[in-house]
Symmetry: C2
Subunit: 379 residues, 2 copies
């Protein structure tokens, strides 16, 4: 096992596959396991940048597809990249745009060179290729950039997946070559992750990872999960993927998930997560707390004097009651979305921070069991 300057594996748990590590970027060090709040269009929805620093978000995620369409590359180029544009000087990871092309576009056309799609905003035509997606993320200035891949739907036949992974692997190779033969645009080092595919088929997953390992990416994501498959199947593929991925590189499970999914994946050796759930559910009046999920639309909270969550060290969590936050939702006040989003992200950051502390102490498995018991005790 060899550490590199990008990823420092600090500790491996004895009782599980959980790991403690550090990712080094020019915008700061990211302790792992980590959760990355999703900032689709140059903002984590309803949360100020200084608030993300306040709750100590170590890295945020941007969506290449959305940023490419709006504000667009001209603007991002003019402002010197996304960090300056949005006034955020901590690390940023951007996805490849592939997922949105496949999920938001019915009219996409895919061939061996890339994918043609129409903007969901104005219907204009665009093409993503393995190469231009690298270039776009060079202009965005992401600290960690992802390769273009095809995210196959669930369920897909083995035949479909076989063809799909052939395409994604050829794209990954092109993307890696493009990355290696080009320089950062804004003088800050950038790193590139490959994305493992292979549907829910263990053999395909293994093959894919082996070939990807040869390309020597800076880190590896597990893609194509959390797209409708049963949760047990997801955890099985996660565990198998983690087993075959190199130990000295970070592992990122894309688009996952609920708190329990994250803890299970940490236990299986995953280091990085992103998900829209904490912010999206916040906007639907669902908050995550150390005593479980709470739906504030429930009338029983009308007179509740309980604080949102005393265990979470964030402004909304310790300063407002469930009754007040419920009122804001019922009255359709913007502050409801702000307070709930900030709290939920703070909760997710607390979750991974506490996981890290327990991995460091050798108490991860025990803590995880106790925490989930408490978290689910109301249901």
């Amino acid at each position: 096992m060899k550490n590199n300057t990008f990823f420092n594996l600090i500790k491996e748990d004895v009782q599980s596959s959980a790991r403690l590590g550090e990712i080094h970027t020019s915008h700061g060090i990211i302790p792992t396991p980590i959760f990355m709040p999703v900032g689709t269009q140059g903002t984590v929805k309803a949360i100020e940048q200084r608030e993300l620093v306040e709750i100590d978000a170590k890295i945020i995620l941007g969506n290449t597809y959305h940023l490419y369409l709006r504000p667009g590359m001209e603007v991002l180029h003019h402002f010197g990249g996304l960090h300056k544009f949005m006034n955020w000087d901590r690390p940023i990871l951007t996805d490849s745009g592939g997922f949105q092309v496949f999920s938001l576009n019915d009219l996409r056309k895919i061939n061996k060179d890339g994918v043609k799609f129409k903007s969901h905003i104005d219907g204009s035509s665009h093409i993503f290729t393995p190469d231009n997606v690298v270039d776009i993320q060079r202009t965005i200035g992401s600290d960690i950039i992802m390769v273009l891949d095809e995210c196959a739907p669930y369920p897909s036949s083995p035949q479909y997946i076989s063809k799909s992974i052939e395409l994604s692997l050829s794209w990954a190779k092109k993307a890696r070559e493009r990355f290696i033969s080009t320089m950062p645009k804004w003088d800050k080092p950038q790193f590139q992750f490959g994305i493992g595919q292979g549907g829910v088929y263990p053999e395909y997953r293994k093959q894919y990872i082996q070939q990807m390992n040869d390309m020597d990416f800076d880190g590896y994501a597990i893609g194509g999960l959390s797209v409708g498959e049963p949760k047990e199947m997801m955890q099985e593929i996660v565990a198998l993927s983690a087993e075959h991925l190199p130990k000295n590189k970070p592992r990122y499970l894309m688009g996952v998930g609920m708190p329990e999914d994250i803890l299970n994946a940490i236990e299986n050796g995953i280091d990085m997560f992103d998900c829209v759930i904490p912010t999206r559910n916040a906007r639907n009046a669902q908050i995550f707390t150390t005593r479980g999920k709470i739906n504030l639309r429930n009338a029983k909270y009308k007179f509740s004097d309980e604080l949102i969550d005393e265990n979470i060290d964030a402004y909304p969590s310790k300063n407002f009651t469930l009754g007040y936050l419920r009122h804001l939702f019922v009255a359709e006040e913007l502050l409801a979305l702000q307070l709930a989003s900030l709290h939920n992200i703070a909760f997710y950051l607390w979750l991974v921070k506490t996981a890290r502390e327990n991995i460091a102490n050798g108490t991860f498995k025990n803590w995880k069991t106790n925490f989930l018991n408490q978290y689910f005790s109301k249901e």
Copy 2:
């Protein structure tokens, strides 16, 4: 001229009718002239309570009509009043609910005892009387409570106004009696303002004020303006009202207005203002800056590196460019509403603070002329 413990008149301008003062409440001292951000439903739209403290809002306004309907009196009683419910420990002024009853309700029925109306939320029937509006504001725990009045529309005939002021004066008398014969519910002193009416008719305005003065309110509002009458007419009525109001009590011009309206009214001797313009216009992408109004929907700001307003000491003003804020509006991001609202309220607070400083220095008229020249120079 006699000062009282509630209002301290510190200085009168020599070159104009502008005044410098202080209002003393148990939740803090309010320097005047002051602008009160509008927090209709227990929140100033899109702004956190701690942000209001950060930009040093000295007092906020709540709407009795809205609070009465939602969260409702049971909830406000349970939580010990609005301050505790919304976690805001600076002063609160509440209006009487009359304005909303008249502006939001087509089916209201008015008689000498009060006004019957249907909730705009669920159609349920309610009555506001001079007495119960005092009681409601006792439960809300407002530092400054307003009497129920009829806000006559513009234009109204002298005959209509004559009848209307007769009614409003009888209500004011009842409200004053109710206030004097009851105690605060939450052990904090409360103060009550009368509201001058009389349409755009100087004689009626004078008569009204004389009779109201006899009731010895703690302060006086000028109501029934900014309802569609020409601006010159409004300033004329404001000046005339200020002349006839006692010097040793604060004067509040309700629902006004644009920055220039506020400065003109300060010049005419007004001490307090509230208006939804800074927050409402913020949500429509209009920001107020020391170099004039800016409509961020205008495409010319797409590449603008200019900060929102370097002269305003608030987070959005000094940390984000017009180009970024425009992007947030175009992308329909919630953060657009947050940053623009916070900036606009900070601008309004800067405006009255700078007015106060210039009254203190004896430079108010000169500063006002220069500021408005600069503010309007782009138009």
